[in-house]
């Protein structure tokens, strides 16, 4: 039987990713404007490590999502809204996967291998190539702007449910209403 909220694990993963992704986004915007300095190289390295971590987190989230069905939508929610919500969630997941991948490939194309926490070298699947590096940089920032726009829609939808519909949609993602596990 479905309970009213997401599982504790799903809720923890969701809010952990909020923190990680907002941090990564702000760091990315801040660091790329900096003049070259040791601090810039350090920030880029931390950004890459955190990006790999975010990728692993989203994989964990997807695995959890497949094993634990999310709670049902409110019974009075129109079908088109449900379809829209599903599409939005799918897009959010796709971007959360595509963004770290584009960052990793960009780094390789620019000639900087990613070595996770300075220990685990990720393979360079593309060779160093200036044009490709610039293309992937544009892709990485465009995908990020798309994600930011969709997050705004996501939050707006939550506000709509909370303030206009006054339903239980947002409560499902709050720890206090969590089901077990």
């Amino acid at each position: 039987m479905r309970h009213a909220g997401y599982t504790r694990t799903a809720i923890a993963l969701h809010w952990l990713m909020v923190v990680v992704l907002v941090g990564l986004f702000c760091l990315g915007i801040y660091m790329h404007e900096l003049p070259l300095s040791p601090q810039k190289l350090r920030l880029y390295t931390w950004h890459k490590w955190a990006g790999v971590s975010a990728f692993l987190l989203v994989l964990a989230r997807l695995a959890w999502l497949i094993a634990h069905r999310p709670p049902a939508w409110p019974g009075d929610m129109p079908h088109w809204q449900e379809a829209l919500a599903r599409a939005l969630h799918l897009l959010l997941y796709l971007l959360m996967i595509a963004i770290p991948l584009s960052g990793w490939l960009m780094s390789s194309a620019k000639g900087f291998q990613t070595i996770y926490f300075g220990i685990l070298p990720l393979p360079d699947v593309v060779h160093k190539n200036r044009e490709l590096g610039e293309l992937l940089q544009t892709l990485h920032s465009t995908l990020n702007l798309c994600l930011a726009a969709l997050v705004v829609v996501h939050v707006a939808a939550v506000l709509k449910h909370q303030l206009l519909d006054r339903d239980q949609v947002f409560r499902r993602m709050l720890p206090s209403r969590a089901g077990k596990r």
Partner: protein, 191 residues
């Protein structure tokens, strides 16, 4: 023309690789030669190279003691992988090319080690600082050309390469691997 004359260059090429025709190599083919380096940034190896350098050497594998080598390197020709990095490297904290446009190496001795391996000893000057350098290299002959290849570690701070905030070695490591490959043709007179 008799066939034997036409065969002569072929024979020369065939014997050129043996000690029989051991010759002095003294014409560096710059476009076949390369000078590159690998630095470590936050533990990540990053490759770079120098586009412009000139080298003079004379080397007879049978008489390494008489060999000499000289290198002049145009520091502004550095290619560190990105425009941003190149601009930074020619600046004051790194090579300071306005004050020190070139780096140079002058050999003082070349010693045979074993087989094709030799040791190059000399003085390396970068950014107005001179240090004794010793680097192992290999020498082999291929299609009548002499090929000199070697790798040695250079501590960048010995030459004040990367001053100020950059002198912190936790971001850019002190040790930089220098890789060289010089291809030289034999002296015209020995052909």
């Amino acid at each position: 023309m008799p066939a034997c004359f036409r065969l002569f260059p072929v024979l020369l090429a065939a014997f050129g690789s043996s000690a029989l025709f051991a010759a002095e190599f003294n014409q560096v083919l710059v476009d076949k030669s390369s000078l590159s380096f690998v630095s470590r940034q936050m533990g990540v190896p990053v490759e770079g190279r120098f586009r412009t350098f000139s080298a003079a050497l004379s080397f007879d594998p049978a008489r390494p003691a008489a060999a000499q080598a000289r290198l002049t390197l145009d520091l502004a020709s550095v290619d560190a992988g990105s425009r941003e990095a190149d601009d930074e490297l020619i600046g004051k904290a790194w090579f300071n090319v306005k004050a020190f446009p070139t780096a140079s190496f002058v050999s003082s001795a070349i010693r045979p080690l074993a087989g094709e391996r030799f040791e190059l000893i000399g003085k390396l000057t970068i950014k107005g600082r001179t240090q004794e350098l010793s680097a192992p290299f290999t020498f082999r002959q291929e299609r009548g050309h002499g090929i000199f290849e070697g790798t040695f570690p250079l501590r960048r701070l010995d030459f004040l390469i990367g001053e100020g905030a950059w002198s912190e070695v936790s971001v850019v490591a002190n040790e930089v691997q220098i890789k060289f490959r010089f291809v030289a043709a034999p002296a015209a007179s020995s052909k």
